[in-house]
Amino acid sequence: MLQSIRDNSQSIVAKVIVGLIVVTFALFGVESLVSLTGGSNAPATVNGEEIGERELLQGVELQRRQLLAQMGENADPSLLEDDAIREGVLDGLIEQAVLVQSAQNQDMRISDQLIDQLIVGTPDFQLDGKFDRQQFEALLRNAGLTPLTYRALLRKEKLIEQERLGYMMSAFTLPGEAQQVVELDRQTRDLSYFVLPAEPVKATIEISDEELAAEYDKRRGSLMTDEQVVVDYLLLERESLESEVSVTDDELQTQYQTLLENFSAEEQRHAAHILVEVGDQRDDAAAKARAEELLARLQAGEDFATLAQAESDDIGSAEAGGDLGVNGKGVFVPEFEEALYALTDTGSLSEPVRTDFGYHIIKLIDVKQLQAPSFAETEERLRAELVREKSEAIYVEQRERLADISFSSADLAEPAEVLGLTIQQSAPFGRNGGADSITANPKVIKAAFGDEVLKDRVNSVLIDLDNSRAVVLHLKEHRQPRTRTLDEVAEQLRAELVESRAREQLKAMAQEKLAALRAGATMAEQAGELELVSREGVQRATRDLPLEVRTELFRMAQPENGASYASVPMFDGSYAVIALEQVAVADSELSDDERRSIQRVLASGRGQADYRAMLEQLKSEAEIERL
């Protein structure tokens, strides 16, 4: 057989095949064969390019962190479900891939130098204004990136940005277009209107019991109650454990001694100063002379506070007569502090002292010795601290026990007995939560409607409401959704029926009025006893008209001769009848600056729209497969 292989391998065909295999391996390596066999399980492919699972996970993680940061403590876990975030992140990645491919297909490129510049220029990566490699790497690590992946990411972003700005920055607004927009924006309209009120109409409408029953039958399907649960629960609170804790006098004494040991008697000094600044206006010698002159005046009996107010260069303290308040050591610069603490008598003055700021004359106002607090003073506080500490220890231990026992018990009776807690019952609540702090807690809602509690009917796991309260739930009652009875909803249905009939009647009334107006009747005639409001020069931004009237006003046809008319339902069920009497353009002259800034705003809107359309175009052309 070997012979036959040898013979056959001499044939041309065999040589060609072997040659092809050699070439394939030489050019593309082993991967080309492996990738043929290993099926792809990428979450999405864009024109054959895979979006990696890793990339997706990273994006999801990043998004979740951002959401958590935004929501703070009341984070709703259901919003953080992977699946919910995943879709959005995947959409973003697909868009990114489409855009990057578009740029690459056009041979757009970002050089390594540009990426370097970008990284070095990023303020986040800088320490003291200079790029810091360690800072850079540490930040990347936190975000789960390596320098290499970060560079690749930057390169993609920059590529996309180049094309985006190509559309955005090249969009323009022609002067006529700006003029058109300004004229529309500054247009004013004159109107008069009256409102057909709903109440009188409603008062005339009677709904019979048959009609009500028919309506009930019609809407039966949408009159369901929510699914609700009532749960029994055990609440463990640290605060209620405080009563079980006792604190002995010995313990209090020990605590007080520790406090005394940590207390260092410190002297504090109340000081004031006058500053003579050394700077551009005064050199050192001149400042010193000036300070000495001031000191002489003080010694001659001038009031320190008055002089400080008039002469001190320290604007902050000058107003308070140079007063710097009561301070301990370590607050002032060393030279100042030394001089201050060298003064012995209250009311004495220092010689001029040189610091970085200039020359100071310091006055010692008072010396205060800080006394250690007496036992009596701190007893209350110490007792509270001890009680808290002890109850916390008990809480932690009981929390553990509660978790253990309720896990191994069928219901809450045993844990309640062992821990001396009472079983409490919640008000019924649905998946949106109840009114009190326990049933409104997202973790509690999730557990109450979870399989453990609802289906298996066992105790829930222990749920920490915060760090000093925990609960365990057990199902008391599961209320399935049911159709509300006619009695329950009669009031509501009746009101709704009245409402909708009144609307129909009002609409018909408004139509009649409109027809009459178009046939030549005046607004005053049609309004009759109703209040007729007339306004001139109403602008789009005018706020003191009812919203519905203003919106409708700028949707109405421009009057050709006379006026144009329309009616519009109001929020409260009434109907407004409006006459548009005149359309005018208020002053539409623009200064050059105004025109330029309007043109720029409009251009950037157009650029945005062009870019979005381009993205749509790319997406529609791309072959996008999602797993």
């Binding site: 012979q3 578009s102 740029a103 056009q106 041979d107 757009m108 490129r109 970002i110 050089s111 130098q113 540009l114 180049q162 094309e163 700005l165 190509g166 559309y167 920055m169 090249s170 969009a171 323009f172 022609l174 002067p175 006529g176 277009e177 058109q180 927009v181 529309l184 924006d185 247009q187 178009r518 700028f554 949707r555 109405m556 046809a557 421009q558 144009s564 008319y565 329309a566 600056d593 330029r596 800034s597 720029r600 251009a603 809107g605 729209a609 062009d610 979005r612 359309a613 381009m614 749509e616 175009q617 790319l618 529609s620 052309e621």
Partner: protein, 219 residues
Amino acid sequence: MADLRSEEEQVQALKDWWKENGKSLLIGIVFAVLIVAAWKAWQQRSQQQAEYASALYQNLLEAVVGSVSDQADEASLSTARHLGEQLKTEFEGSAYARMAALLMARLAVERNELDVALAELDWVQTHEPTAAQAVVVKLRKARILAAQGNVEQGLQLLDGLANAAFQARIDEVRGDLYLQQGDRDNARKAYQTALAAGSSGAANPLLSVKLNDLAVEDK
């Protein structure tokens, strides 16, 4: 193996083979190496070229931003024009040159040199624009033509322009042009189509304002 030969015989056979084929083999290898080297060099050159064009374009963007801002300065404007020209002449076939021409067109409009702007847009049209660019260029040209008074010519340019992603944009410009002609009915229809086509995208409040201004009384 069937025919076992002595070692000398084998060596002799190799030598004979070498005499016969050695030269052509060497030539072949040299050729292959040369071709690969040339290919690599060419690739590197074109990559460098593209990166250089990219850097120029990046500077151009900055200059354009500078020249259309509130404190528009002449220096950025002339830098922008210089860079734009350089990209268009030295990298004629590149994407960067096309985008440069688009930006030049905008700068020309800002200076009210509408003919120059049209020429720049024509330049893009003749230099293999992408599908999206081709539509954008036509839309912009049509608006400039209309501003010059050639509304009819602008409308012709829009005729036969069909692109699903750009439909809302196209119809809005069409409406604007009809309105310039004083043809309110056609303008209204165009705006209505634009509004319907744009429903999938982001809201366009200006379009609604323009459409509402052309409302007719429903009697």
